[in-house]
Amino acid sequence: MCRDCGCQTANKIAHQHLLRFQPHGPTRTLTVEERVLAKNDAIARQNREWFGRHDLRVLNLISSPGSGKTLLLEKTVERLQDRTRLTILTGDQERDYDAQRLQARGAKVKQLNTLSACHLDAAMIEKELGGFVSPASGLLIIENIGNLVCPAAFDLGEHCKIALLSTTEGEDKPTKYPLLFHEAALILITKTDLMPHLDWSLEKCEAHIRKVNPKAPILKISAKTGAGMDSWLDYLGK
């Protein structure tokens, strides 16, 4: 029991009076039952409706920093039959290096800078709809901030999340970051060209993936050599 006010919360995880206890008069309890991310999710739902109305397919690429998202997109743009049908929004905290790389390949791309935030959110995407993201596009790819935790929790309104994992990362990442890999509709193993030089097991990695996601297709890709790129382009429907 709290000796200041007599409340019975000693069995909870945290019990803390932030200031010296002050009498507060009669109180009432208000039921809230609201998810903290409810506002983001409401905007995400509106985004999803906008995408549906305009027949736009939207993919959210999520991975650690350095897994090869940007190079994959560079090579994708190079091989597309019709580049005007793809729009890319690329997120980073600072700078527009990724957008520059993609623009150099002829992509229609905009850099979103979050400054301090470690993930894109639905409101950032909503701002672009009807402006930079036009209904004529057909396919929107969102390259999220390099981060395996927070982007998995923030719905942007996409049709599916795609998780990337490179051969230079631990095979056990999928079970260490289960939320992302469980929710991903497609998992890309990147930098497969490096496998002969690494003590890295594809079988172990796939086993870890299957522990948290029994169904999602797993594509093995080297953007550098082109291995596996056909299957990725087939998935994009290009």
Binding site: H15, E34, V36, L37, A153, K211
Partner: protein, 116 residues
């Protein structure tokens, strides 16, 4: 996770509620922290006290309750609460599961008062 921005988001939500539900002081706020939410409770505790300064939550007691991961199995149809390391149906060990609870950070309720 970015507990400071989560704490700021909670403060904003409660400040909005204070005008529609007519209170100007919160004495207690109960949050449900999903085991699968990625939220670090100690960080959230610390960040909350910073974010609440000068707001209707400045004197609020923060109570954090953990909500375990609950999954529903597509194979046997049952719900179970596996440990995070297991991540499969506890009844039949299938991995064909869907998360039904334990992913979220939620505001459960507030104890409020109106001080003239």
């Amino acid at each position: 996770m970015h507990e400071l921005s989560l704490a700021q988001s909670i403060v904003r939500t409660v400040e909005e509620l204070s005008t529609t539900r007519n209170f100007n002081r919160v004495t207690k706020i109960r949050l449900s922290v999903g085991a699968f939410s990625g939220v670090a409770t100690e960080s959230l505790n610390f960040c909350f006290s910073e974010a609440a300064r000068g707001t209707v939550l400045a004197e609020a007691e923060l109570v954090l309750e953990e909500t375990p991961l609950t999954v529903r199995c597509a194979d046997c149809g049952k719900e179970s609460m596996p440990a995070l390391e297991e991540f499969c149906c506890k009844e039949c060990a299938s991995t064909q599961i869907r998360i039904v609870d334990g992913k979220d950070l939620k505001i459960i309720d507030l104890e409020v008062s109106h001080v003239p």
